[in-house]
Symmetry: D2
Subunit: 133 residues, 4 copies
């Protein structure tokens, strides 16, 4: 069991009818994608031609920030506000999509790994939106 | 002129048809609201009865994170992604509304100041959504 | 291979004489500890007696923020500033120690899991300080 | 009175022998510097020659993250941990110094404004370290 799953299991109050597997998966993808996007922005800066990667770097930075905030929100279950969570998941999915689209235009290995992380996180956000009802 | 306005004025490329006043105002409200919500969560922890303030604390933490991320996104103008920005502003406005609604239920001075900061930030986000077109 | 390790392997420039294993391990512990501390603060809020847990919640919030920032700094290798990195690792280790000390005073399962994550992250930070020279 | 000062004034418990003016000033400089560094990194990406600014961008990103985290820590007064705060202020001052040194090597207006914000924040952190005793 991962740390995020273990923390969800030790939550002391009723979690309601939440889909635990989808929630844990989304938390993990958010934190992972935040790290990968931070690293990809930096790797782009160390490429020979950073001028061709400025849209990629900016997309990485936005995506890192939104994944970070989304992962934090999803790690909290006390006094849950469905409207805030749903809009945040939409924003995170949009940032992941935009970042993946841009990363896929480049042949760098770090962009390839990053695009995959973004696609997984986008999917996890959209699945969680669906099961939130 | 504030720092945020000065930074916008020194941006070296074309900003397009953005409403500068609405953008600068929203950036400032986001950073200010993030600080105020962080402080309100902590002040709630030091009240005699934190048990009655748990929803308020949670709302403060979400709002602080979303204001922080929104302020960062709005401070970037390179390779702007309208879809991500709009969803992020919606998420931030929802968090501000939720936090203000909760803070207004309590008589503590810090909750009163925080509710005002959240209402201003919510309004600034919604106005920026409108002018983004 | 984990995502953080994969990103380090695809970095396009010379990393110098860095200890890759210690670096990757510390990045992973930082991101994991940030999630766990965020979740522990929230779980404390949902306990029957949050008043007895206010120091724990505050420590969790500081530790989550420092782990987050430390994980981000360590994910960047371009134009590395040793002085900033060393002080940041010291700050992160101090926050982890303080949070673990406090969590160990409570019998809640989430505090136990969180204390372990903080001890691992503190150790990873101190080991990285040592190998940084 | 600024928002940060107003929040400090409404804190419900004893703040101890803290120097309020130095604390409020440091909180304000941290949040302001975080915004300015985020904007400067982005402005650098939109310059004609981002390749010459990669160290500046990286320094901006580190400084934005550390100022953000430092501003949050200083906004919390419950269960204050002096050791964590002191190390965090040292890390923030180091990041501000490093970022200012780099920004001063460039003639761009945004780098000039950013260097000034970093110097002010570095000074505010060092002054607060001194008065913390």
């Amino acid at each position: 069991m991962t740390q995020a799953a273990e923390m969800l299991d030790t939550f002391p109050a009723d979690l309601g009818r939440v889909n635990r597997a989808a929630l844990v998966h989304c938390i993990e993808e958010c934190f992972s994608c935040s790290q990968v996007c931070t690293a990809c922005a930096d790797a782009c800066l160390s490429e020979r031609d950073p001028a061709g990667l400025v849209r990629c770097i900016r997309g990485n930075l936005d995506c890192a920030d939104l994944c970070d905030t989304t992962g934090r929100l999803l790690s909290r279950h006390t006094g849950f506000d469905i409207d805030t969570v749903r809009h945040t998941l939409e924003a995170c999915a949009a940032a992941c999509k935009s970042c993946a689209d841009e990363c896929e235009r480049h042949e760098h290995e770090h962009c390839r790994v990053c695009a995959q992380a973004c696609r997984r996180c986008e999917r996890a956000c959209r699945e969680l939106i669906t099961v939130l009802g």
